[in-house]
């Protein structure tokens, strides 16, 4: 066990866990956040995505000690139902979800990429999203929401 300090959605936290524990479990159990989800535990689907140090990472395969001290943003850290972040607003406007379980991967991967590449082409966005899965296949609306956000920022 080890005491690890994290900054999540702007709030400082201290947890006492096995340092090899994947970040996902610390977020969803110790901190009881609902945004990042366990989808595969293998870093293959994206449901556990959070933004750390400005990059979208797969929290299910990221040992918590490797992000100690980093700024971490989860899906709930972007905005709230009352005041959604512009990319969340775009997803609401496009009604771009069905079950909604995959949204951390879809929204945070797109946001981190577009923040870094605001002029990205359609092909580049698709490339950036190529490791993210949605099994309801809400692809058309999700890509429309991502394009809408890209045009707004």
């Amino acid at each position: 066990m080890a005491v690890i300090r994290l900054t999540v959605n702007g709030e400082p936290h201290t947890v006492d866990v096995d340092p090899a524990t994947p970040l996902l479990y610390v977020l969803s159990d110790d901190l009881q956040l609902r945004g990042p989800k366990f989808g595969c535990g293998l870093g293959q689907c994206g449901s556990c995505t959070v933004i750390a140090r400005g990059r979208a990472i797969r929290s299910c395969v990221t040992p918590v000690n490797t992000v100690a001290g980093a700024e971490i943003t989860t899906l709930e850290g972007l905005g709230s139902p009352e005041k959604p972040h512009p990319i969340q607003r775009a997803f609401i406007d496009e009604q771009a979800a069905q079950c909604g379980f995959c949204l951390s991967g879809v929204i945070l991967t797109a946001k981190a990429f577009l923040d870094e590449h605001p002029k990205a082409s359609e092909a580049e966005i698709r490339q950036a999203m190529s490791g993210v899965l949605c099994r309801c296949f809400t692809h058309t609306r999700m890509m429309a929401a991502i394009r809408r956000y890209a045009q707004e920022v």
């Binding site: 994947p22 139902p81 959604p84 997803f91 909604g100 379980f101 899965l133 296949f137 809400t138």
Partner: protein, 765 residues
Amino acid sequence: MSDLSRRDFLKTSGALIVAFNGLALEVDEVFAQGQFDTRASHVDPGRLDSWIAVGGDGSITAYTGKCELGQGMLTAQTQIVAEELCVEVERVHLVMCDTDVCPDQGTTSGSQSTPTNFNERNLALAAATAREALLRLASTRLNLPVDQLEAVDGAVRGRTDTARRVAYGELVSGKRFELPLDTSAKRKPADSWTVLGKPTPRLDMPALVTGRFEFVHNVRLPGMLHGAVVRPPGVGATLTRVDVNSVASLPGVVKVVTRRNFVGVVAEKPWQAMQAARRLNATWATGPGLPSHESFYDYLKRQPARDAFVVDSGDVDSAFGSTAPVVRGSYRHPYQAHASIGSSCAVADVREQRTTIWSATQSAYPTRSGVAQVLGVPLESVRVIFTRGSGCYGINGADTVAYDAALLSQSVGRPVRVQLSRQDEMAWENYGVPYVIEQRAALDANGRIVAWDCESWSASLGGRPGYQAPGNVVTGLLAGFEPQRVSPGKGGPPSGFNNGSNSAPSYIAGRVGGRAAGTGTITTERVLTHTIASPFFTGPLRSPSRLQNTFAHESFLDEIAAQVKADPVEFRLRHIRDARLREVVSRAAQKYGWQTRPSPSRADARGGVVSGRGIACVLYEGDNGYVAMVAEVSVDTASGSITATRFVVAQDCGPISNPDGMRNQIEGGALQGLSRALGEEVTWDTQKVTSVDWRTYHSLSLGSAVPAIESVLIDRHDVEATGAGETAITLVAAAVGNAVFDATGARLREVPFTQARVKTALAAR
């Protein structure tokens, strides 16, 4: 550690009587998706208070036995209640599938939620009954006859003297209605709708996109522990020994639990439970082995089978014995997985007198029954609270993980949360069934089909547990319950034409018992199905059997059209007599800009990238939604890669509750169908399933090139509502395969259309 025999276990199970023998059911029951009609339970569906409650503040709570699975039923059902009670959707709180308070509506499946709760019964009838009751109460209060009153925005007021007004909350003030459902209560006519029929944003969307939504995965209880399961290393393997000491020193481990072949570990934290499950030293006796994956379709045809005739006009063989030209085709469809994006999860709190299960099951009441049987506790002591999971598309791991959590919680006496690993989700689920379908058709001199003969082979084991068979999913089997198995036998003549699985093509008349209930014109007709024992669990996967059968029928129809050099749209219309099915075909073709000509457009496409278009259509389940799809594809003849570039879907599901919700279902269904057509296939070796994650089971990612999708919605108010969640997906493999044929002249007869199979088909031209 406990290892009760099933017999001992039964003795302790109190009032429950569980039949372990005689479970070999008719094939139709094995394939049945669940109960569509509302059942009697402690929540009496005949009473208004079972469905609707009006609070003193005018808030409306509605109780339903149909749940949200990502398909939009939260919003659509809320719209029904809001419409009939003349309030905005925000005023209605919908409680879904909590067995303590909701009516038993069986399973949310089979595209039956809208038919069940929109058409003149159940939830909609309850809301209409409540509106009329409120009008009567207001009549007394305002001293005006009912026909001079109207319900508007949560209040009743005079039609002319609108100042005379009383709010719902004042009329009921939180009390019960104490009324039966009124089967003569009038539904609001569609031309007066203000909520239904409008594109209504999903009520759950803001919470979903901002990470606030509570999935079952997020349920946390005081004192809750975390469990993980240890499944056998292969199909049919049995447990011989567990070395508890192998994990005793690991941090957080609370208990190793076994029951027959069920093994699980409970720990303080989820990561600890998963580590312990991984490191537990369990010894298993190897199972009997699996049939070869490579030759499985041949195996499927050689096994003892249960046979059933869907239709048999008796004159088919003689029609083929004549000199008429005959066309033949044989089609194959693999096992496919639900493969939910989130592995399944449940939380169980099993106490001495009371068991509570938080579960994403589609079947709250049946799961309540299954949990009671698995635990050996009285049915009345179990409550299942539906809590959303990730999209399931049929029976994923939700039911089985509810049993896992229940068994572990019972053993440790504390609440336990279990989430399956990705591998356990995908290696042990109830897969969509594999098929071999063989067709032949006889033609007359004018290019009309005069006889159609279809014979199919599929495989079945287990399925939805229903109220009686917890052994139909893996945990139940491991804990000692028997699954429903296919019993071989010959089928007699059908008693009526039932095309619920779309075993029969759209082009036959379906003449059984003096009545033609099919959508087509061909009266010399035979459809024979064979079902064999599956080595893997099977169960409904979105458009179960309907998709596989429709792939075969719609591909074959196209092959016949090509044979007689007929245009695929014109050739379909030549053999369809159902007006609504004809209309969706015509509307899809029109929207696409279909050019009348035979396929292929160029059979000589030897190199480069070529494009084509294909069409398919179906009356889903024979009575549950009309749909047609045109697919446009490009094919890279060098690599064998298929890219779908445009889908046009025309759909007639009767009155539309939420047009945007329907579009969302069409779009998602179409692309899920594309993923299944192009890449999804369950694989296995001699002992175990090998498609267990996203490297080995191929799902189209967000980065994939997907087609533009155009939906033509035909909204009818003079007919009953039908389902709309499984229509589009049913057509994709056929429409894409037909488009590939149009582009290249190569016919794809086996799903998925991998690049290797496309290249083989191209070479075979």
